[in-house]
């Protein structure tokens, strides 16, 4: 359970915060009967009104207040073998941070989070907890709702940030060994945090002009404010991590350059930023773009705000093709840019949608239309080449496919023509070939992912890789888990040499 012990200085303070048999914790457990705890109803997140928020970029989820957090923390039974931890890709010591909240030690709760997670305020907001930690909660076995672990994580991280007394995790003595990180997304940041804790001299190289990867260009302000990401990046800087923007490893600096500069290890976390298109007729018409382009223009470049130079096409009738979180982010953004019609077009039914349930709910509350069991087959443009209509094929569900989801099948002859002026294609991403192609000798799969062994080590021993460049498009927290694992493996690899 407490695998943190291995990776973390077991100073008295840390032990005191995470020791299940500490006196304060024994006392907490005795203070209430389990039956009383399970009878408390799960807290609801405070949210802005749907109609109000669909016209601005304010964060939709408003977080828990102290009373809500204190009450929700009581629901946790502080299990002897907490299964929730196994559901967390970075193995946060969940009962320990929650019990610190229960005793009112909010800053200490944040400290526990930071022992294993470089970005708790981010994860508390964007992790699909219902499929991770919360899916393993003991309450579910009793037919009750899971403890709101994600909400509590966010509460502790936000409390610490707003308190102005942010703690920096304990850092081992500097060992002077230079380590490079390619990409400043969640995998790279998590790796950088762990390596800095272990005493390494860490430099993160980022191709864009902002640090944060998808947290900055992808996930919109109304779900994850950039200011929060910046605070977490600031924490890493305080831990000694260096960030170099506008620098592409393999292009600006070659792998050989890095070796010459004395780098002893490289973690490639360049993501799966290459957007997929469907390859259907008319897809290159004006007004049809990838989610990545649309969200980058708005989130990273400030398009749609007056003082910024980057333009964006603000559609009146916007269709977003796909059913993932990126599709939800895009369609909710379109609504905020003033779309009269903002709709999701998805080829399966709502049940199969990969997006978080919460995001689907929020989208509906904001007036997003859902056209499920529909798939675009052709686009038509006007004389200037701007898209004006799309032809949708109606679908029905057939047998389950290899992924276990029921396969959408065309209903012959059933099509529908819809007027649209903007289409956002959000049908997934592939690994970006830019970095793999730039490092000779790196083994790459047919799909373009970097091939690694179980320790996340590539065909070139000093290069490790993780996150979407290894997995294809996945989640923020899986990327962070990879960062953590790669840090442990690389540390072992370097120490053995």
């Amino acid at each position: 359970m407490l695998n943190i012990k291995n990776n973390y200085n077991t100073e008295n303070i840390s032990m005191e915060l995470t020791n299940r048999t500490a006196a304060w914790r024994e006392e907490l457990r005795k203070a209430m009967k389990n039956k009383e705890r399970t009878e408390i109803t799960r807290v609801n997140m405070n949210e802005l009104d749907g109609e109000y928020r669909s016209r601005n970029y304010e964060e939709v989820n408003q977080g828990l207040n102290k009373d809500q957090a204190l009450l929700e923390a009581k629901r946790c039974l502080d299990c002897l073998n907490p299964s929730c931890i196994t559901g967390c890709p970075v193995n946060i010591d969940i009962p320990s941070f929650i019990k610190n909240i229960e005793r009112g030690a909010f800053l200490e709760a944040a400290q526990v989070l930071k022992m294993t997670s470089a970005l708790p305020a981010v994860c508390g907001r964007v992790c699909p907890q219902e499929r991770q930690c919360e899916s393993q909660c003991i309450h579910l076995k009793m037919g009750k709702k899971a403890v709101a672990i994600g909400y509590l994580e966010r509460f502790a991280a936000d409390y610490e940030r707003e308190s102005g007394s942010i703690s920096i995790p304990e850092i081992a003595a500097k060992n002077g060994i230079k380590i490079g990180v390619v990409g400043s997304g969640p995998a790279g940041l998590s790796f950088a945090g762990d390596m800095a804790k272990k005493g390494y001299d860490v430099t993160v190289f980022e191709a864009l002009h902002e640090i944060g990867g998808v947290l900055k260009y992808g996930i919109p302000e109304f779900r994850l404010p950039n200011s929060i990401v910046d605070v977490e990046i600031g924490n890493l800087e305080k831990m000694g991590v260096k960030f170099i923007k506008d620098c592409i490893v393999g292009k600006t600096l070659s792998f050989d350059d890095l070796k010459e500069q004395g780098f002893k290890g490289l973690f490639v976390a360049s993501g799966a930023g290459l957007p997929n298109f469907m390859g259907i007729k008319g897809e290159n018409l004006i007004g049809i773009m990838s989610s990545n382009e649309y969200l980058t223009r708005i989130n990273l470049m400030g398009a749609a705000q007056d003082q910024f130079d980057t333009p964006v096409l603000k559609g009146k009738r916007v269709a977003v093709i796909g059913g993932g979180n990126t599709a939800m982010d895009s369609v909710r953004t379109a609504k905020r840019l003033g779309a009269e019609l903002a709709m999701i077009v998805y080829r399966r039914s709502e049940e199969e949608m990969p997006a978080r349930i919460e995001e689907v709910k929020h989208a509906k509350e904001e007036g997003i239309e859902f056209r499920t069991l529909h798939n675009p087959i052709e686009y038509y443009g006007d004389e200037k080449g701007r898209v004006k209509q799309m032809l949708l094929q109606k679908m029905e569900l057939g047998e389950a496919d290899a992924s276990g989801r029921r396969k959408p099948v065309e209903i012959e002859g059933a099509t529908e023509l819809i007027d649209v002026d903007t289409v956002i294609v959000s049908v997934g991403v592939s690994p970006n070939p830019l970095i793999p192609n730039s490092i000779p000798g790196l083994e790459v799969s047919k799909k373009g992912t970097i091939v690694v062994n179980e320790n996340l080590q590539s065909a070139i021993p000093m290069i490790f890789a993780g996150g979407d460049i290894v997995r294809g498009g996945a989640t923020v927290i899986l990327a962070m888990g990879d960062g953590r694992k790669a840090a442990a493996s690389m540390d072992e690899f370097i120490q053995k040499k």
């Binding site: 923007k245 400030g302 910024f308």
Partner: protein, 274 residues
């Protein structure tokens, strides 16, 4: 932040800037480009590298005033800083000994052609450059081209310098005169389209360097996508150079107009503020 080390006005609307970027200067090859963001509120624009000086650690960009960002960039002076310069991006030009190569360029397309002419010459090719512009004042880099080119043919629309006519007239004359093994073309899309149509007629393999709308320039968004032989490709990572005979130039020109209204409105507003 990248400092401007020197500046030269090629003409009223065309400026050459040497910018401090030592890593890019060292890594860049002919055909590479950079993405530039001029200030904190700026957009990201692609510019092909026209040359570099490894010792000084500078790269050369040649910019024509056409909208807000290019005008902002042209108005910067020596000692000023550019917020972001990232690169080198794209695939470098494929250089080998082809035989006789005709390099057809127009307007500011002449600047990125210069390093290609140099590299082709050094690889042992006979290089004939067709330099075209609307009028005499807009002919740039003629002297620098002469350092490497075996022959330079200058074409102006109005006949104010060199021969009166279009770039295609110059290229056709060469093809009629001698065997051409390769044509390379850089310039406005419409010019490259007509060069491509011409060389296709004569079966001369042709490479065009495409200048599409870009955002990140690293393959992340697909804003720069074009159809090559019926397949969608991203100019920033798969290009910028492609077999010109496979390029759907009409689609490319259409896509270049995607933001025309916004661009014009923003430029009008910018000029008002000046």
């Amino acid at each position: 932040m990248n400092k401007i080390i020197s500046k030269e006005n090629f003409s009223e609307n065309v400026v050459s800037l040497d910018i401090e970027a030592p890593l890019i200067a060292k890594a860049r090859r002919a055909g590479h480009f950079v993405i530039v963001r001029i200030d904190k509120d700026g957009e990201r624009i692609p510019l092909t590298i026209a040359g570099s000086d490894i010792e000084k650690g500078t790269i050369r960009l040649v910019v024509q005033k056409i909208g807000v960002s290019s005008t902002k960039l042209c108005s910067l002076n020596v000692g000023d800083y550019i917020e972001d310069v990232v690169g080198p991006l794209g695939k470098a030009t494929h250089i080998e000994k082809f035989g006789t190569v005709v390099c057809a360029c127009g307007g500011v397309g002449t600047a990125p052609m210069l390093p290609i002419v140099e590299a082709l010459k050094k690889a042992g090719n006979k290089v004939i450059v067709v330099l075209a512009a609307r009028t005499k004042d807009l002919i740039i880099l003629e002297e620098q081209m002469r350092q490497y080119a075996d022959e330079i043919i200058i074409m102006t629309d109005d006949g104010s310098y060199g021969t009166k006519g279009l770039v295609t007239n110059g290229v056709e004359n060469v093809i009629n005169r001698e065997k051409v093994d390769l044509c390379v073309t850089i310039g406005p899309a419409i010019m490259m389209k007509f060069v491509s149509l011409l060389t296709k007629k004569y079966n001369v393999p042709t490479v065009a360097s495409l200048n599409t709308i870009m955002v990140d320039g690293t393959g992340m968004c697909g804003a720069c996508r074009v159809s090559i032989g019926g397949e969608t490709k991203f100019v920033c990572v798969d290009g910028p150079e492609f077999d010109a005979h496979q390029v759907n130039f009409d689609e490319m020109m259409m896509r270049l107009g995607a933001y025309r209204e916004q661009e014009q409105a923003a430029f009008a507003k910018y000029k008002e503020q000046l």
